[in-house]
Symmetry: C2
Subunit: 201 residues, 2 copies
């Protein structure tokens, strides 16, 4: 490492800029969505020119893919760091809380878009899909354990709970409460968790 300090330094700077680009892409993406996000937006937000941006990421699809991979890695790290003494239900609740706070903090929802175009693009991204499948396996196991232990409704097919769980991580009600009810983030999280697990009744 100390043999090539200049190169190492350069690499470090490169990584830092890459991180800044991903931060900018995340911010623009969470605000405008994939279709309306332009590479000019991202370059402008980072403060570099478009060709420089393309030196780091060879296409818009790759850039967005990497931003989402970073998000999923955060989720996988969070799950891995959960106290193993927690019940399946507590784990699911904790991860949902984490996802909601990420979003309220300007981050991305797990399901960045329901548009077929974006979905298809992501499904072609092997790196991304590996993360999705890994996370999905873990959550599916938690749902089934929760049902066996009677903590989750065992009359519902596991898929219904699992897909609805994903949907709650990107529930638009969060933005409505933030924008129209001016509700503090902590209250939003608390209420969204309650609605998710207890329903409207």
């Amino acid at each position: 490492m100390s043999i090539l300090p200049r190169l190492s330094f350069k690499n470090q700077a490169f990584k830092l800029r890459e991180h800044a680009i991903l931060d900018a892409a995340t911010a623009v993406l969470s605000q405008k969505g994939y279709d309306l996000m332009t590479m000019d937006d991202v370059a402008g937000a980072v403060g570099i020119s478009k060709p420089s941006l393309y030196k780091h990421f060879k296409s818009k699809e790759e850039l967005v893919g990497e931003a989402l991979i970073r998000l999923l890695d955060g989720a996988l790290d969070y799950v891995a760091g959960l106290d193993s003494a927690l019940s399946p239900l507590q784990k699911l609740s904790s991860l949902l809380e984490w996802a909601l706070r990420v979003r309220l903090d300007g981050g991305l929802p797990f399901l960045p878009s329901t548009s077929p175009h974006v979905r298809e693009m992501l499904m072609r991204n092997v790196k991304y899909m590996l993360r999705v499948m890994k996370l999905n396996r873990q959550l599916e196991a938690l749902v089934k354990q929760g049902q066996q232990q009677g903590q989750l409704n065992h009359e519902l097919p596991p898929d219904v709970i699992l897909f609805s769980y994903y949907a709650r991580t990107c529930d638009p009600a969060v933005e409505f409460l933030q924008k129209y009810s001016k509700m503090p983030a902590d209250d939003i999280v608390r209420h969204m968790l309650k609605v998710s697990f207890e329903g409207f009744r």
Copy 2:
């Protein structure tokens, strides 16, 4: 009416074509979303040329606005036609079931998009916003009645229930269950209603 049969007939044909255009726009919109829907798509689906399309609707925004207005009118009609003997909870459940079936039938979700672009466009559309506010008043009243009668959780602020209710009408879990679980439409509706009102537990 019988004084001007030719004109009346022409008007009828015009209305019919307008209906066909709105049907096509609805189909394309539900599949591709606003940003990716092109006027060529719609014109092609109807079987007319683009300039003809612009004779009926002067812009893409107006076309989409009218399609959504038709959807909201359907919802308002449905609410107006509900048996007044039903409880607030039964009414809310019935309308949600209607909205889910419309979507499963290739129609549009109530919240056509969470993108700021589309949202802003719709908020400038007075005709559309009048419908939204009318429907919102009625649903808000139902939520509050339901809470007073103890049918809906009264620990939750009404806004939380109301916004979450809107979110359920466009829950992406519906598409997942349709696509990945190959679940029949009736089962999807039944399970989504149960998850919405009872939660995961």
